[in-house]
Amino acid sequence: MYSASDLRKGLKIEIDGVPYEITEFSFMKPGKGQAIYTCRVKNMLTGGTYVKQYRSVDQIDEPKLEEKDMNFSYAEGDLYVFTDENYEEYRINVEVLGIRKFFLTDGIKVQVLFHNDKAIDVTLPFFIEKRIEWTEPGARGNTATNVQKPAKVEGGYELTVPLFVNQGDLIKIDTRTGDYVDRVLRK
């Protein structure tokens, strides 16, 4: 249990059995009145946010969260199989992964966040490299980065890339946003 005075930005709390992260926090205390702690909380399962207020007498549940290092093993349908250091297998639904499913490669090291022993989030290395499988030919000599064109990388993920990126190029992708970051030049 947390008391209201423990509340701060970044703290993870539990409301009605759902884990939330406090993304904004303000402390208010009118005149001779009681302290009021106003929090914007983000649902760690859905990403939705709302504002919740606590008073100094309130007790707040602490979520049982655990983060484990794991390696991606293989996928079977909508279930993605990861193994921990003891080679124990965990099956995680594709819904938890979202677009990150495209960035999993054999053996890639990830952190899996569990809430009450149920996987709720998977953190990949922030940047991964993928080869462009398909894109329209770019205008030669055009190095502008503000004009984008569609492209598809190995594994089927689609994104937009600058005009100068060509089929067969290796690019760097931010796994948190799914966005193109850079072209990787290999000698």
Partner: protein, 301 residues
């Protein structure tokens, strides 16, 4: 905030401190210094004192200053550090600077007129104008101040009568969520005559015992000051301390010793008096437009 902005804020702060001192000295107030480390802080339901050895750091110099009034000093002021445990936010810091002044044989309206004159003097000396402009806001300190009763402010903005069915929880939440955000931002605003259960150390109004002689000053969205027609009745004061102590005990919060020397001073005879506590850091925030109290402090560690 960069180092240059902090330096500017500290220069403004220095001028504010000097201006406040000059204001009170010109009006024949005596500047006093009362102890910072004390055995018995005022027992208030929602104010927590920081322990210092077996004693505490003062949450306000109020009780000692009233003892000086009882000892025959009729006009006194003090500026200095106060400490409140667990209060930290954009407008709160566990250590902050409070200005308090008291007048014997005066009531809370005279304190309001002092406050108007003080705010005008500080604006004149520090800014050279009585219109504060910062971040697209304009606050006209020199013009008419908005003055409304707490009852009207709640009827208007929260839709209930605080003098009929008082509910402390609802009062605090609505004050923060509905009333304060609706107060005018273009001029200072005074909320007057708090419901008697929110009297704290104020006396109830003779003409209407449902309310206490207490007002609060807001400007630019900041709560700046709290003033009382002071309670001078020792029996009533003891009863309120005991009531707050019981609420604190039930809430599992520290219960402070009774300040018997203060109560004895009331019993010997405290003249009718009025006084006020004004947050100096917040006044500097108002004048500089600083978004957070830490931006007007030299160190906020």
């Amino acid at each position: 905030m960069d180092a240059r902005e902090r330096r500017t804020n500290l220069e403004v702060r220095s001028r504010v401190l000097q201006s406040i001192r000059r204001f009170f000295i010109e009006r024949n107030f005596v500047e006093v210094e009362t102890p910072v480390r004390i055995p018995a802080p005022a027992i208030e339901t929602h104010i927590d004192a920081e322990p210092a050895g077996d004693w505490f750091l003062r949450t306000s110099p109020e009780l000692h200053m009233k003892r000086l009034l009882a000892d025959g000093l009729p006009r006194i002021f003090q500026m200095g550090p106060c400490f409140r445990r667990g209060e930290r936010g954009d407008r709160h810091h566990p250590e902050y600077t409070m200005l308090e002044w008291y007048r014997a044989n005066a009531d809370y309206r005279e304190i309001l007129s002092d406050t108007r004159l003080l705010m005008n003097a500080v604006c004149d000396e520090v800014l050279g104008t009585r219109t504060i402009e910062s971040g697209g806001r304009r606050i006209d300190v020199g013009g008419a101040w908005e003055c409304l009763t707490v009852r009207d402010a709640f009827l208007l903005n929260a839709g209930w009568d605080v003098l009929k069915d008082f509910d402390a929880d609802r009062f605090d939440l609505d004050l923060v969520n509905k009333v304060e955000p609706a107060l005018p931002r273009d001029r200072p605003t005074v909320l007057m005559d708090y419901p008697a259960p929110q009297a704290a150390l104020a006396r109830v109004k003779a003409s209407d015992p449902r309310v206490a002689e207490r007002w609060e000053l807001y400007a630019g969205g900041l709560e700046l000051a709290n003033a009382f027609g002071e309670l001078t009745d020792p029996a009533e004061q003891r009863r309120r301390f005991l009531e707050a102590a019981e609420l604190r005990r039930r809430a599992g919060r520290a219960v402070y010793p009774m300040d018997e020397k203060f109560l004895a001073a009331l019993a010997r005879g405290l003249p009718p008096c009025a006084g006020i506590a004004l947050g100096v850091d917040r006044l500097v925030m108002l004048l500089t437009g600083a978004a957070s109290i830490e931006q007007v402090m030299a160190f906020a560690e």
